[in-house]
Symmetry: C2
């Protein structure tokens, strides 16, 4: 039975590759500490649950294809806080930021079209782009420069007649890099000059330690170019709600995107209602408190990692991930070792080997993505395990 | 700014085309009765709401990409009732039946590939297929034969080297036609002989008035060919939950489909938990009660429609839709007339003009899809309005 060539070009998520091995470790009684997953332990705000509990209609009906009205209005109000006056039509509710990405790629890419993506990048971007027949052209960055990419000389030489878009994650996953407003301006200028979409995945928007919190939608002169991918998942620690949005003032683009939204009918009704309540009831104080908590975590993990000899990294500027170069030959091998051969007091640790964040896996061979979404003391212990594991691994390898 | 040629091949949903016009009518104070939408008024079972209210975890976390374990197990148990022993891996939770269709089409279609679909068909199939670069090859059916399509001589001549699948809806939307087990066997045989996928959209499975309730998964000899699209939307009147599933024993297909599931991370966690509870707490008695209610509705609308001179139809065998040929030149024009110029005691009515259910709209010009998802007395009044509206429309047209 034939399968499509585009699906063959997609791969299973590298983040989930070690799952069977982890299950075995847990089965052997090991406690596995996680520096690998982006599932925050911050409580989902009660507003979400309350709004769903207060849903009194006897039937869970379809929502409108573009989104439940209270949700769209809540999002409009939220963006007003950034000085962005959006029409209701500028917002489409989606199944998480993921579906917003799927939709925008389906709308703009033909077979052979290219999207510039700073590398290392979120691996699922590959699936969203490859399934359309398009492909990623990576914008190489360097650990030494903290994975920053907004330089004309890094981007422009990669633009060709098949380039359709620049796709960025700001704040960055997996890098933790954050754009300055000047860098953002430059990207906007490049997009305008070359008639490209600038697709900005801003799902970590409020989590910025060093730099300014803003959205690409603020660049009103690039209304035709900018499409923002957003979500309640990380903002409100509600990843399982699967409520996100595609936001753009490009009427032609949104006129195409709505076709896909109508095709899949709507996003889950109750989750949209719960999400609207979070937007309406929570504001600056909430975002500040969450940021403070992540700052504590960031400080804890950075402090702990500095104690691992040979581990190199730039202190993260935002989100809750960063890239760390580890003093090993291959972080994938290290990860298997940590799950299969190592333990300390019945515990081990997982990181995400960074090979999957690069189009050429070799570039990420000695790097890991570290996620810090648990309490500071847990992070410190996890990094301690990582340090011991590295030592044991290198000893085993005869180093 | 360039847009993809595949999205340009998709269209806005014809079902929603009259929405602005309806808003105007409502704005003028008219009550609009609906024979056009598939949103049942049957209450969503309390089990759904209770399970969600009883969710006590403080964080709404990602679900596993293939589905929440309790949901997958509940679906396994449900299919065991049809004698189908499914592995957990045979089931992928999806955002409604819609996403199951999107996923399976993305997995099997390359540009120019064809899917045989009995016509008239659910219009969103066009979007799911066209977005991949594939296209629908309609299998023409006739009103006179009740829109039945499972005949070797109707299907085989349409198969060519680009044909990848046969896509059916059983029970049928928009036709209300139901396959006999012999007809289903024939489709399975054709799929096997020609090495085609048989994609069976069975979201109305339990709603059968005349014929047998079964699933294509029962044909164990066609495990490689059959992929079933299923959903809680209509089974439990929970369309806004957006919980469906792709079910297939074709391991290669499911191995590709999981890539897309991992890319979009998961289906909404709470809705899966609520859906699992419905499967676990409701069974044969519930399905029977729902079927009895739809039978009353079907009988009411059939009785009422028989009083409209010139209206022609075959009594529906399943689902809650059927096709009616109306004694007018153009049902779209009739619909605009009903919303803009007609009323009786402050009321008017909507049907779905059937042009959008045909690849060649002319074929559906004098036909409507009728949905009967409200109480019998409401249906009778709606059909009365339709009869009066047709008379007034034809008078206006000078007939």
């Amino acid at each position: 039975m034939k399968l499509s060539k585009n699906i063959k070009r997609c791969e299973q998520s590298p983040v989930r590759k070690f799952y069977p091995c982890e299950r075995n470790a847990v089965g052997r009684g090991l406690r596995v500490r996680h520096l690998n997953i982006g599932q925050p332990d911050i409580e989902t705000p009660p507003a979400f649950f309350e709004a769903i509990r207060n849903f009194t209609s006897p039937v869970v009906e379809y929502a409108p294809a573009p989104g439940v009205e209270v949700f769209v209005q809540a999002v409009q109000k939220y963006y007003r806080g950034f000085g962005c006056e959006l029409a209701g039509d500028d917002i489409l509710a989606t199944f998480g930021g993921s579906e917003a990405l799927e939709i925008v790629m389906a709308c703009i890419l033909d077979e052979g079209d290219e999207v510039l993506v700073p590398e290392p990048f979120y691996p699922n971007y590959t699936a969203f782009i490859n399934i359309t027949g398009g492909k990623i052209r990576p914008v190489p960055t360097s650990a030494a420069e903290g994975y920053h990419y907004a330089r004309r000389e890094m981007i422009e030489p990669l633009i060709n007649e098949r380039t359709r878009a620049i796709l960025i994650t700001n704040p960055g996953n997996p890098t933790g890099a954050v754009l300055s407003r000047e860098e953002a301006r430059l990207l906007v200028d490049i997009a305008k000059e070359h008639d490209l979409y600038l697709i900005s995945d801003e799902v970590y928007r409020e989590i910025v330690y060093a730099g300014e919190i803003f959205t690409m939608l603020e660049f009103a002169d690039a209304a035709e170019n900018v499409a923002v991918v957003d979500s309640v998942s990380k903002r409100f620690s509600a990843t399982g709600a699967r409520v996100g949005m595609l936001v753009s003032r490009n009427r032609e683009l949104m006129g195409e995107a709505i076709k896909i939204c109508q095709g899949r009918l709507c996003v889950a009704t109750l989750d949209q209602i719960g999400s609207a309540a979070m937007y309406n009831q929570l504001g600056a104080d909430y975002y500040r408190a969450v940021l403070e908590e992540y700052t504590r975590r960031k400080d804890a993990i950075v402090g702990a990692l500095r104690k691992i000899p040979g581990a190199e990294f730039t202190e993260p500027e935002g989100a809750f991930y960063f890239m760390v170069t580890l003093p090993v030959d291959d972080v994938e091998k290290l990860q298997y070792f940590l799950l299969e051969e190592f333990s300390d007091q019945g515990e081990t640790v997982m990181v995400t080997p960074a090979a999957g964040f690069y189009s050429n896996p070799e570039l990420g061979r000695n790097k890991a993505r570290i996620a810090y979404v648990t309490a500071p003391e847990d992070l410190i212990r996890a990094v301690e395990l990582l340090g011991m594991g590295i030592e044991a691994y290198n000893r085993k390898c005869g180093k």
